[in-house]
């Protein structure tokens, strides 16, 4: 338990001192979302209609981009082998890394999301559903992503591989996340959709740390 907190704290410190890229995900999130109106044209009718979806897609891309860094620095400088030899069980190592990833991407995305919602002229009714759906959805992204990041450690073309492995598994989260916002906009009930997102989260929470730990153990040869 102490080890878990220790590792999370180290990762946060590294992220905020800039060893890895804490702000990267948010900056990407904001910039990418800002680009769309330039590409699509600032049609006041279309923007709010696609806004919820675009925010979700970009959040997902942002979470994915930071995945490759999740373990690679520790893998390359030999820290990962030391983790394997440390008294901290690998599941805890995996969990700590996942939590740190979420704190440095998911949480920041949550904070940035309302700003973008304003930017896209989303009606106020969509704000709470957007935030709640992201609160339930982003940890799942970190959890699933960790498996992909660990599996591709030391692989050729690990960047592509991560996307290939992880994006398909992200699709359900994306669909339901965007559906929540859409339903809210259309004035429909979205409680059941949030339940589904919660279900995904529980499922990922139950499986991902173990799968990640197994993959990490194999990465070391």
């Amino acid at each position: 338990m102490i080890g878990l907190l220790l590792l999370i704290r180290r990762d946060l410190k590294l992220a905020f001192r800039g060893g890895t890229d804490a702000a990267m995900a948010v900056v990407f999130f904001i910039l990418a979302a800002t680009l769309f109106p330039f590409g699509v044209g600032p049609d006041p009718e279309i923007l709010p209609r696609i806004g919820g979806g675009v925010i979700w897609v970009v959040a997902l891309l942002a979470a994915m981009l930071s995945l490759e860094r999740m373990f690679s620095a520790d893998y390359e400088d030999g820290s990962l082998e030391q983790f394997v030899l440390s008294p901290l069980p690998m599941v805890m190592v995996a969990l700590a890394k996942i939590i740190a990833h979420w704190l440095t991407t998911g949480v920041l995305l949550l904070v940035a999301a309302p700003v973008l919602a304003v930017f896209y002229n989303l009606p106020a009714a969509a704000f709470v559903p957007l935030i709640v759906s992201m609160l339930l959805g982003t940890p799942t992204l970190s959890l699933i992503g960790a498996i992909g990041a660990a599996l591709t450690l030391g692989a050729r073309r690990s960047g592509v591989l991560i996307s290939l492995l992880v994006l398909p598994l992200y699709i359900p989260v994306l669909i339901f996340g965007a559906l929540v916002v859409d339903s809210a906009l259309a004035g429909r009930e979205y409680g059941a959709l949030l339940m589904v997102l919660g279900g995904f989260l529980l499922l990922a929470l139950a499986a991902a740390p173990w799968a990640t730990a197994a993959a990490l153990r194999q990465a070391i040869e």
């Binding site: 180290r10 410190k13 060893g19 520790d74 030999g78 440390s86 008294p87 040869e221």
Partner: protein
């Protein structure tokens, strides 16, 4: 049977047999110096001993028990230093050391460990500014942290620990190792000869992996 015993060990890397039939036995209080040409498998052997690499054949025992029986217990007795330095450029020297010490559940007495490797003046410098040798010293300082606690791991596996060290740092390292041996510890050290080998003198046996080449 005391200490570490290895019998009939084979190592295969990427379909190639690197060495075969390695046997060794190291008693508490002794060091073993591994030598052998580049590519003869010293690093591979150390990784097998640490449980980081599966052997192709052979058994490893610690105090008479097969280490495969309890991998968890084996992990706890090991301090392994590889070719790479697990040092984070963004953290200070002190923070780097503290992290590893705490993670290994050792009461972090950072100051004395820094002194022992002569980097106390650098304690608050971000590790990105260290020279190659200073970085190696920081990696090694981890050995000193746990050394005098009862939880300190008894088996040290060191892969060319003296790389990049100046003679005074090699002497500091040798002192650490000798103190570890005096505590009934075991040390297995890959090296290409040099000051460290001389300093360990009569406390160390030698094994040349060239003899185990297939």
């Amino acid at each position: 049977m005391q200490g570490l015993t290895v019998k009939e060990l084979d190592c295969v890397r990427g379909d190639r047999l690197v060495f075969a039939g390695v046997a060794l036995a190291v008693n508490p209080g002794r060091a073993l110096l591994l030598s052998g040409a580049n590519g003869s498998g010293k690093s591979s052997l150390l990784r097998i001993l640490a449980g980081l690499l599966p052997q192709a054949a052979g058994t490893l025992t610690w105090e008479g028990e097969d280490i495969a029986d309890d991998a968890e217990a084996h992990r706890r007795r090991i301090a392994y230093i590889g070719h790479a330095d697990p040092v984070k450029p963004g953290l200070t020297v002190c923070e780097n050391l503290e992290f590893w010490a705490r993670l290994y559940g050792l009461e972090p007495e950072i100051e004395p460990a820094l002194y022992q490797f002569g980097i106390e003046a650098l304690a608050d410098l971000p590790a990105r500014y260290l020279s190659a040798g200073q970085r190696r010293r920081l990696t090694l300082a981890r050995l000193a942290v746990g050394q005098n606690s009862p939880y300190g791991p008894p088996l040290w596996l060191l892969d060319e620990p003296a790389t990049g060290l100046d003679p005074s740092a090699v002497a500091m390292l040798a002192n650490s190792i000798l103190a570890h041996l005096a505590n009934e510890g075991v040390a297995i050290i890959a090296s290409h000869g040099g000051l460290l080998d001389e300093a360990l003198g009569g406390h160390a046996d030698r094994l040349d992996l060239q003899d185990a080449a297939p």
